[in-house]
């Protein structure tokens, strides 16, 4: 059913291999020194080079915000669009050109506030595009207002007495609309980020990746308590398909289900009874439960929450077109002009 290809691999005989440097555009990168976006940019460029992706068939599309400057720095086709609307341009482009590999770069404000509607409908349709949502829990480009993922009570320029908004969870949203590939990674772990990006690239359908990204100016250290090396073992849970869920130093702790509730249990040397990760589960229940786990009660899960096969929007569109053409025959413009009934004036 799925006619489109996510990636067009470089035929080695025809062209020389591409390197990470080939994906670097000539434009000066203008993020703040120390911004987490640098690490993500480098990881994406390296991942595409590692997969020998063809630059000319790759398009990066973004909205507005710090993260949305991303396409300018990629030596591929790129489109820096308007606030929140990147998924709509990506959808239109994918419909017109299913053979292209299309990546959307967005942020917590761009993707979940102004662009929330497009995000959910794009994921719902399972358009074969990759969406990277850089979550820094703050508005950076507009200089420090709270975002839809900011924690309640956060004091920002627009909330001097603390925000009274309840935050939204990007992964809960993606799973709620039946996302076929849902993952989380962090700008502080290049290896993990490379693994997740590669998995996303190879997924047929909408691949949604939340990337914890540090805003060094307006929300520095937002994820420090989870991702910093010293605390990571106890505060982060790295998911692996088919493996029991363990964390802590040397896997000393694990997750066991008590009914539908996850419990943290002592796991040194014993994995039986622990919850085993199943990213391919047809129902998103387990993935959703994982997406609800947060500090301080639980470790924060990283990795691929869900990866299922499902016909893509663009694939079904092309298939329907072929079926209709087989049934009705190739279209004829003169017949179209004639319409259902004609008469002749002599």
């Amino acid at each position: 059913m799925n006619e489109s290809t996510t990636l067009t691999l470089q035929p080695p005989a025809l062209t020389k291999p591409v390197s990470k440097a080939d994906f670097v555009s000539g434009q000066d990168v203008r993020w703040c020194p120390g911004c987490g976006d640098y690490a993500i940019l480098a990881a994406v460029q390296k991942a595409l080079a590692d997969m020998q992706v063809q630059r000319q068939n790759t398009v990066f599309i973004s909205g507005i915000g710090c993260s949305s400057r991303f396409p300018y720095y990629m030596n591929t086709y790129g489109f820096h669009s308007i606030h929140g609307r990147a998924p709509t341009l990506a959808t239109g482009l994918k419909i017109a050109r299913p053979e292209l590999s299309i990546w959307v770069v967005t942020g917590d404000g761009d993707g979940l506030s102004i662009g929330g509607n497009h995000l959910i409908h794009t994921i719902r349709r399972n358009v074969d595009i990759k969406i990277l949502l850089f979550n820094n829990q703050i508005y950076g480009l507009t200089k420090g207002q709270y975002s839809p993922t900011s924690e309640q009570g956060k004091k920002t320029k627009s909330t001097p007495f603390g925000t009274i908004d309840y935050p939204i969870s990007p992964l809960c949203v993606a799973l709620g609309v039946e996302g076929s590939f849902v993952a989380r990674t962090t700008d502080t772990d290049l290896k993990h980020m490379a693994m997740v990006l590669e998995r996303a690239a190879h997924h047929k359908g909408t691949a949604f990746v939340e990337i914890y990204q540090n805003c060094v100016i307006f929300n520095d250290g937002a994820f420090k308590g989870i991702t910093e090396k010293s605390v990571r073992p106890d505060h982060a849970l790295f998911l692996e398909h088919g493996k029991p869920m363990t964390f802590g130093k040397d896997g000393s702790k694990g997750i066991r289900l008590d009914g539908v509730h996850p419990n943290i249990v002592e796991a040194t040397g014993k994995s039986e009874g622990l919850c085993v990760h199943d990213e391919k589960a047809p129902e998103p229940t387990l993935a959703y439960m994982l997406s609800r786990m947060r500090n301080p009660d639980y470790p924060v899960p990283f990795g691929v929450f869900r990866a299922i096969e499902r016909p893509t929007y663009d694939g079904m569109l092309v298939a329907q077109e072929q079926q209709a053409t087989a049934k009705m025959g190739a279209g004829n413009l003169q017949n179209l002009l004639r319409g259902p009934e004609t008469w002749e004036v002599k």
Partner: protein, 617 residues
């Protein structure tokens, strides 16, 4: 049963040049359907015609209520006609509400045919009648024919053993049969249609056919209606014709444009009255390289259209005024990124949700100015339903040639109004030339064609031409982000000059009537028919009046300023409060006057004629 249409009527005949009939009933009564069938038969009879459906925004307002009245008017003639007719010569009213809503439009001595069975106490009350108008003598000024359509229809269908409710639903065909008789029209094509439409439920097909024929025979036998009317064939230009509405013509026009350009057609849209029919029509043509996308909202439809244009499709979106409002920011993006997109605005009454099913021309300023920044787009406006086809090709040609958004201003009247359309031959349609660069050396995404100022359209997938575009100001040539003040002014002026330069590539404006004279009547878009008819009538009355109808509004045709100086007075007639008027006054410093109407209805010929006469005083 013998074929009734071949029966020579025993009644006397009167020959007429033209007639306007209005079918009116409850929105569930099938008035649009019988109006459409009468139109098809009229087309086959060789008359010129123009139709205008007028229906409520509510799908099914309470039965019998005034807001639930749906009407369909057809004007047909043995001469050229331009409008659906100011007032009906014949009104068919299926219930008291339909009578009440439409009676004010009915001139004295017109034929008034009512379904008297629907005039019961309950329906009279719903329509707000204190007494039964059929009995109080108030209808004496008309040729009034009360017909017990409900009862006669039930009797005619009694043998078929249909449930009462199903039989009752056929009464619109009884009324159609009677009108067919009255205007001496053949029933064959409608019978064929009925049998095909209801082929899965033979009982219903036979019942509708029986109702149609019963209506026809009733006309022949009743003593109530003394005569039949004949409208001879019109002298139309030779060729193959079909009936076409503006929305149909626009849809197939864009399919044709894409084929003429050798492009895929992309249509991204969100359902909205009165534009949705374009989406319906295009979604069917999957075997003609047409890809449609029903987006989650108006903004997404515009974004997807821009994405498809970036990918190399002939990309368009269609909506009405409220949708254009939502798309505005993205249209600005298309202006900044200089991508070829067409935005179809089937205008309706505003502001806000306004009058969704009624026509208006009040979105001209929105098309011109409704975006942030200096943000010019090309604007075209078809003048007739058939012209919606040709202007679709024209809009596409300009978008592709100039790498610019084009606003295509249709309206609710054009969208739903139908007329005979002489089909063009494929070989007569202009090919649209499109080029995409492939050479990587010194490629600059914002370099310009010296003649048109268009930038190159390099498509993803082309090796070596990888480039980035976006909504931030572009450096001339390279297209890189630039905040340089000199560059910004240069780019603003360049975008404006590009659109202004379109004037060199469009036909000059032409007037109908004297090249110099007392008055120039100026209009644009869907008011063409009324203005044309009124100006012809004025000339017939000996007045020195010419008519200029603009299809290109931004930029104006380059000879427009000169044309305006050839007349002592200028009258600009629009279904808004004077938008084109203000543009003409601002640009050409002429003392033009406006004739404006915002009632959700097209101009009547007679009111335009009156305005012409007043302007000449």
């Amino acid at each position: 049963m013998s074929n009734p249409s071949t029966i020579q009527s025993a009644k006397k005949h009167q020959q007429l040049e033209k007639v306007a009939i209005r079918f009116a009933g409850d929105s569930g009564d099938g008035m649009q359907l019988v109006g459409g069938k009468f139109t098809e038969t009229t087309a086959m009879c060789g008359n010129d015609f123009s139709t205008f459906p007028d229906f409520p925004a509510e799908i099914r307002a309470p039965t019998g209520s005034l807001p639930g009245v749906s009407g369909y008017q057809i004007h047909f003639s043995s001469r050229d006609i331009y409008t659906p007719g100011d007032a009906p010569d014949v009104l068919v009213a299926m219930n008291p509400a339909a009578l009440k809503v439409n009676l004010r439009d009915l001139p004295e001595n017109a034929i008034l045919l009512v379904n008297q069975d629907a005039f019961n106490d309950a329906n009279l009350k719903k329509a707000g009648y204190a007494s039964n108008p059929l009995e109080d003598g108030s209808l004496k000024r008309f040729r009034f024919y009360p017909v017990p359509i409900g009862r006669l229809n039930a009797e005619a269908l009694a043998k078929l053993g249909l449930p009462k409710k199903d039989a009752e639903r056929c009464k619109n065909f009884f009324a159609l049969g009677l009108i067919y008789w009255m205007f001496d029209r053949p029933m064959e094509s409608t019978v064929t249609w009925i049998q095909d439409k209801f082929k899965k439920v033979k009982g219903i097909a036979d019942a509708n056919e029986a109702a149609l024929k019963a209506g026809f025979f009733y006309g022949e036998t009743t003593e109530l209606i003394p005569e039949q009317y004949r409208i001879p064939q019109a002298q139309l230009e030779k060729g193959l014709y079909r009936k076409i509405s503006g929305n149909e013509a626009a849809a197939i026009g864009f399919v044709a444009a894409a084929q003429l350009a050798g492009k895929q057609l992309f249509y991204g849209s969100y359902p909205i009255t009165p534009a949705s029919d374009i989406l319906h029509e295009l979604s069917y043509h999957k075997n003609l390289n047409v890809r449609t996308f029903q987006a989650e909202d108006e903004i997404a439809a515009m974004g997807a259209t821009i994405g498809a244009a970036f990918g190399g499709s002939l990309a368009l979106t269609g909506t009405s005024g409220p949708g254009v409002a939502l798309k505005s920011e993205a249209i600005g993006l298309a202006v900044m990124t200089e991508l070829p997109v067409v935005i179809v605005n089937v205008q309706r009454g505003g502001p806000s949700t306004g009058l969704p099913t009624k026509t208006e021309q009040a979105d001209l300023f929105q098309a011109m100015f409704g975006r942030n920044g200096e943000c010019p787009v090309i604007i075209v406006a078809p003048a007739t339903p058939g012209e919606c086809f040709h202007m679709a090709i024209e809009a596409s040609r300009l978008a592709l040639k100039f790498m610019s958004p084009v606003m295509y201003l249709s309206d609710g009247f054009l969208a739903n109004s139908a007329e005979p359309w002489r089909m063009p031959k494929l070989e007569d349609l202009p090919r649209i030339h499109v080029e995409h660069p492939t050479v990587a050396d010194n490629f600059l995404p914002y370099s310009r064609d010296p003649e048109t100022l268009a930038r190159p359209w390099a498509l993803p997938g082309t090796p070596g031409l990888e480039h980035r575009i976006g909504g931030l100001e572009k450096e001339d040539g390279s297209g890189n982000v630039s905040y340089d003040s000199e560059n910004h002014q240069h780019m603003v002026q360049t975008r404006a000059a590009k659109v202004a330069g379109v004037a060199k590539f469009i036909p000059p404006a032409a007037v109908a009537g004297p090249p110099h004279g007392d008055l120039l009547l100026v209009g644009w878009g869907g008011t063409y028919g009324s203005l044309r008819a009124a100006s012809e009538e004025a000339r017939r009355l000996g007045k020195s009046v010419a008519h200029l109808h603009l299809r290109y509004i931004n930029p104006f045709p380059s000879n427009l300023g000169d044309l305006l100086t050839n007349y002592k007075r200028i009258l600009v007639a629009e279904l808004n409060c004077g938008q084109l008027l203000m543009m003409l006054r601002a640009k050409y410093l002429v003392d033009a006057r406006g004739f404006n109407k915002v009632k959700g209805k097209p101009f009547q010929v007679v009111e335009v004629l009156r305005a012409i006469e007043e302007a000449l005083l």
